[in-house]
């Protein structure tokens, strides 16, 4: 049913793309995404895929070509990082507004300036309001599984929105890991056939795509419909994750829990940091300090109500952010979302925010230990000493 391989994260993504065999891939190289494009180009050169690969002259053109190809009617994928995602930004909104199920793999890297090629989540967080579904992956295995599921989620008739799968640059993309690659046939059966809604290439039924909405047009209604589809995506993501579990033995939901059942404080985090955090929690639990981890997988749509049901029972919730929102000392984007949702809770937990790892600054076990000790003390004391904290910052 699967083969176990020792490969880097980018190779795992390229494997997923080979199995999906999208009709069009349009991409431009950027560190640390580059190895995905290189590997996939080899697959094309060796005839292992039927993909028409468009090696564009920029990420803006990559996303523009993806929009054209998806509007023409078929499966379309791309991959990028950092400045590349930022350059796509304008067309991200066109892709979602035209309801095109493009799948984008974003290898998280920070944004300039200062120029820095290492990991943080500034890139994807900057695109958080672009109406793209955003899925995060702790490791290469999850990233591989998430890319396969992304196709089903994006193309679901009730959704028809583009999906961005995120994984941490270098930490995951360039590290060799033990990965189970599923067999092609069951993967292709899971992904299934795609039938586009209004393809340009249906000569018997010509369509106009991307029409001009006049002053008294339908823009507001179109955007409300898009928002409704994002709401539906919440359920489709869970259905697809459940079906994936039935077929391949590993189910996926909106998040993954560790030690929440008896915890007095809960950490919320995204991507690879969850591995370090889990290790520290493991050690502290043996000392009787019951802390839990909620590893968020789905950031868009935002599972606000679902999270409140779980998070409101903890005396303390600490949110780890690998990006800043530059609100002036009010914390990172993930913290802001969690805080806003908890306003509706019957019982509001105390909140703390830990900003870490900007520009690839290492998140060590000792840093996480320091943060989790503070969180534990807050749970004991019933008050948080410092709301927004910076881990690993040289003062």
């Amino acid at each position: 049913m699967s083969k176990t391989m020792a490969i880097v994260g980018t190779d795992a993504i390229a494997e997923a793309m080979r199995q999906i065999d999208p009709e069009v891939v349009a991409a431009y190289p950027i560190t640390p995404q580059t190895a995905i494009v290189e590997k996939f180009s080899e697959y094309v050169a060796d005839g292992l895929v039927n993909t028409q690969m468009v090696k564009v002259e920029s990420e803006h053109s990559a996303m523009s070509a993806c929009v054209g190809a998806a509007a023409a009617g078929g499966r379309v994928m791309t991959a990028t990082s950092s400045q590349g995602l930022a350059l796509m930004w304008e067309i991200l909104y066109v892709a979602s507004g035209l309801r095109l199920p493009i799948v984008l793999v974003n290898v998280n890297r920070t944004l300039s300036a200062p120029i820095n090629i290492h990991c943080d989540h500034s890139d994807s967080m900057g695109a958080r309001d672009a109406s793209w579904i955003q899925i995060y992956s702790e490791n290469a295995q999850e990233a591989y599984h998430n890319v396969l599921q992304a196709v089903r989620i994006a193309e679901h008739p009730e959704v028809r929105l583009p999906v961005m799968v995120n994984l941490d640059g270098f930490i995951i993309s360039h590290a060799v890991d033990r990965i189970d690659i599923l067999d092609d046939a069951p993967v292709r059966e899971f992904i299934g056939e795609y039938s586009p809604a209004y393809p340009l290439l249906d000569v018997a039924n010509p369509v106009s795509v991307g029409m001009f909405d006049g002053l008294y047009g339908y823009f507001f209604e179109a955007k409300r419909a898009q928002e409704a589809s994002m709401e539906k995506a919440m359920y489709v993501i869970q259905q697809v994750g459940e079906e994936f579990g039935q077929r391949f033995g590993r189910p996926y939901g909106l998040w993954e829990e560790y030690g929440l059942e008896d915890a007095r404080a809960c950490v919320v985090a995204l991507n690879s940091a969850c591995g370090t955090i889990r290790t520290v929690i493991e050690a502290m639990r043996q000392e009787g300090k019951k802390i839990g981890l909620l590893k968020l997988r789905v950031f868009r749509p935002w599972p606000g109500q679902e999270l409140v049901r779980v998070l409101q029972h903890f005396p303390v919730v600490a949110v780890f952010d690998r990006a800043l929102a530059f609100k002036g000392g009010h914390g990172g984007p993930l913290y802001t979302e969690v805080a806003a949702s908890l306003y509706e809770a019957e019982k509001r937990p105390l909140l703390a925010n830990y900003v870490y790892g900007l520009g690839g600054r290492d998140l060590s076990v000792s840093m996480v230990r320091q943060a989790l000790e503070e969180i534990w003390q807050a749970a004991e004391a019933g008050r948080v000493a410092s709301r927004v904290n910076y881990l690993g910052l040289r003062e």
């Binding site: 468009v54 002259e57 053109s61 054209g68 066109v94 369509v207």
Partner: protein
């Protein structure tokens, strides 16, 4: 050369009822290009943002009798690249039997300026498509701002005439030549005033688009921006050719060829006189400006003649 009789029964892909201005040059350029489409071929059209785009597809009405896609302003080349790539993928997989060909219509702002990278990329990659620039020499959709296609001395709202300025201070870039240097199968410069020349070039363009990228630059005057009576559009375009301001030529497989010879050119002043945007140049005391304009027209013509081996 194409004959009028061949064209009278042809299907028109651009329907009446669009909201472009009366006297606009753009729809004339579109119709001349679409008249060159071979029988049995289905077109797919892409428009980057511009007058033609906003005026032909006001939801829920479309003036296009074929599939059409708009993405944004600066990405006509890349968008149509994607459409063509999907066509090739479907064709190779045996999922499509139809002969579909692809054309983009962009204004000079979308083509010379903001979309130049996207266009250049599409030409370099060798996609099977036609990119048509309907050149009206300024950003007309946003209200007559200067572009890389605006001639020296022209008034626009961002190259105003004042005590220190005689309109635009730079000459236009030669986009047709820039596209020709991409070594693509076919490039041509045309004018809506010379319909037979333009439709003949369009016929070649549709044929050559089976081999690779094609670029057509078609002069399409805008009476609002150029300041002339709306019924004079064709006359103003024709005078641009007769004065050698807008030479009609083609570059077929690397061979440069003049398609309309202008053996007895009229002074460029006679073209400037047709338009209010140049009226300041014609005032007493600005004779040197008109001479400067004429000298640049002569210089560029000589350069083109050299390329055409004339």
């Amino acid at each position: 050369m194409v004959a009028l009789a061949e064209l009278t029964g042809k299907k028109e892909y651009f329907a009446p009822g669009h909201r472009l201005c009366a006297g606009c040059g753009a729809p004339i350029a579109v119709r001349q290009v679409m008249l060159g489409l071979p029988e049995g071929v289905t077109p797919v059209v892409c428009c980057p943002t511009g007058c033609l785009e906003v005026s032909s597809t006001i939801y829920p009405y479309s003036a296009w009798r074929c599939s059409y896609v708009h993405n944004a302003f600066e990405n006509g080349g890349a968008t149509l690249s994607g459409v063509e790539a999907m066509y090739l993928a479907k064709k190779r997989a045996g999922q499509l039997q139809d002969d579909i060909r692809f054309v983009a219509f962009g204004g000079d702002g979308a083509t010379y300026d903001i979309g130049l990278q996207s266009l250049s990329g599409a030409l370099e990659r060798g996609h099977h498509l036609i990119y048509v620039c309907y050149d009206n020499e300024a950003y007309m959709n946003t209200g007559i701002q200067r572009s890389g296609a605006t001639p020296w001395g022209a008034w626009t709202t961002t190259s105003p005439v004042g005590s220190e300025a005689l309109g635009k201070e730079q000459w236009r870039k030669d986009l047709t030549a820039i596209c020709a240097e991409h070594n693509i199968p076919y490039v041509a410069q045309a004018s809506i005033s010379h319909w037979r020349d333009t439709v003949t070039k369009a016929q070649k363009a549709w044929e050559y688009s089976k081999e690779g990228p094609v670029f057509l630059n078609i002069l399409a005057p805008c009476h609002r921006g150029w300041r002339f009576p709306m019924e004079k559009t064709i006359e103003v375009a024709r005078q641009a050719v007769k004065t050698r301001f807008w030479p009609l030529y083609e570059v077929e497989k690397g061979e440069w060829r003049l398609t309309v010879k202008v053996t007895k050119p009229e002074p460029v002043r006679t073209w400037l006189e047709t338009q209010g945007r140049f009226s300041h140049l014609l005032k007493p005391g600005n004779e040197a400006a008109v001479e400067h304009f004429q000298a640049e027209v002569d210089r560029q013509w000589a350069k083109l003649m050299h390329r055409c081996g004339e």
